[in-house]
Symmetry: C2
């Protein structure tokens, strides 16, 4: 049982790195009070999401501190995007192992600052504590959305088109690359995948643009099929997916050519943080306009069915059976 006071001065130093991140919000009181006081915009709903990341589980212990900061923020920003919300504020709690030094905190807070700026979200509070375990980060993000307009998972209807943003599978392949398990790949492609794993791109512009358009939205964190199954379960529908239509990055294409078994990982791996959504089929007529506005490619990969199962089809129209069990049928 350690007395926290022992580390208090250290934490005061750490707080020096965090307080500047809050300075644009008067009600954060420079992180010197017991809580922040925020005035939500009139007529808006508040959207709240909490995510935790643990070193050795959600990121590699040696990942650069700036990338850990980026991932932490972007994972929550992706959750806000999937509800259609515009980011506003966040609080941060950090459980710090003894070995974490001030240069790490300097780099970590610089990473937060850069991503705050890019995604227009501001720190308003938090807690820094000691731990004997791995570095553990928890972030609560707050965003706003016009009342009654929030996007949900539960509105998918038979006949809906299924769309995804960006490219799929890069997150899971990027983790392999970061662990030096994709050595046969072109070096630049490896680097690309690692960056996709470490710095996912939350689709914060796309989310709000899907309001009044998407019937169901989810961000792909558990994996394409797993997250599609979350939508199908709660919407009480099924889905047919055309594997050849799933958008892949050139790096993922190279990986797949060299090792076709990686297809399972593309379908079942997580950490893409793209949005998957369903729409009325005539969205096809305006998808390019929405994609342009949202600065991300959109691709139709299948459709929602009445059957309560997810089916994956290859180019010959045969149902694809994954090499590993456990992720296609729910």
């Amino acid at each position: 049982m350690s007395n926290e006071n022992a580390g208090l001065n250290e934490f005061k130093t750490i707080n020096k790195y965090f307080a500047p991140l809050s300075e644009s919000v008067q009600g954060a009181f420079n992180l010197t009070d017991d809580a922040a006081i925020i005035d939500p915009p009139a007529g808006q709903s508040l959207v709240v999401t909490t995510d935790a990341l643990v070193a050795g589980v959600h990121f590699l212990p040696d990942d650069p501190a700036e990338d850990v900061a980026a991932k932490l923020l972007r994972v929550s920003l992706s959750d806000l995007a999937s509800m259609g919300a515009v980011p506003a504020h966040y609080t941060l709690s950090i459980a710090v192992p003894p070995k974490q030094n001030s240069s790490w905190f300097k780099a970590f807070s610089a990473g937060l600052a850069e991503n705050q700026h890019d995604f227009k979200i501001t720190l308003i509070g938090g807690d820094t504590v000691a731990t004997s375990g791995p570095l553990t980060l928890s972030l609560t993000a707050l965003g706003y959305i016009e009342k009654t307009k929030g996007l949900r998972r539960n509105g998918a209807q038979a006949g809906d088109s299924i769309w995804v943003s960006g490219t799929i599978g890069d997150g899971a392949l990027g983790l392999l690359a970061a662990e030096n398990k994709l050595a046969s790949l072109d070096r630049a492609n490896c680097e690309y995948l690692i960056q996709r794993y470490r710095r996912p791109n939350p689709r914060t512009k796309l989310g709000p643009n899907l309001i009044d358009i998407a019937h169901a939205v989810i961000d792909i964190s558990d994996g394409l099929v797993a997250d599609l199954s979350h939508i199908c379960e709660i919407s009480e529908v099924g889905a047919d997916i055309q594997i050849a239509d799933i958008p892949l990055s050139p790096a993922a294409v190279e990986g797949l050519e060299k090792n076709p078994v990686l297809l399972d990982l593309i379908l079942g791996g997580g950490d893409d943080y793209e949005l998957l959504f369903t729409t009325d089929p005539n969205f096809a007529g305006i998808f390019e306009e929405v994609a342009d506005k949202s600065e991300v490619a959109l691709t139709k990969i299948g459709e929602i069915t009445l059957a309560k199962t997810i089916r994956l089809f290859d180019q010959k129209g045969h149902e694809y059976m994954p090499h590993q069990k456990g992720f296609t049928h729910f």
Copy 2:
């Protein structure tokens, strides 16, 4: 690097314990969506606070799960109280070591349910992840307060009276008792102190009743003198405290009689979660009414001075010098 999917079913089970805690809030979507959607009451400000607790640092690893749940919620409720806010919602992130079993989660969620009911606060989201380290809990609490009415630390003025709620020092003595380091004390007194440490009473009724009355408020988490110094530093004032006026529980009185050195712990120890606040001197005329309404005793312990130092006086009017250095002068 573990793949989280391995534990996914386990976490689904855990979520069964948490989902019922959210059922009174429609916008929590039974914890099945990416985020919660809440409508803040019109004309109110949102108050946000985040606190983290780590097993072995903030609570004893063998503390009952119900007490850990109680402490986790009550620490944040105390922060809301010190701003004058009325509790509303919270999110919870839990990093779980492998040994934490479902009976622990059952007891923990039962503790949350009991405290939610008592303090009128509801779970709206969170994240459960695996860790190789100690159990790590982070809670973000949301409350509301009438716009512009939030209580702060920075308004203390020379001549203000200094008040505290309840009794002081029980938290720090309770930790000693829980560690079997107060064996000479009456058994019932020991139990009382342990309960005060494990289940602090956040003054959620008192906080809102101090609006338009208190000039500065803080909750006593770091210790009486340390938290008073937080107010003094940011208000740019000092304080004179009469030690004999500090309200003590009968258990603390017994402890002090048996070991006078414990006075340092009463002045400098933390975990009381009482409110310390400063008021115009004529608050003395109405303090009983406020205390009755708030269901807690209020005691004047000193006054704010122009000198930028905190002085502690014994019954003979001599300045008290603590046995340990480092907590009286800032």
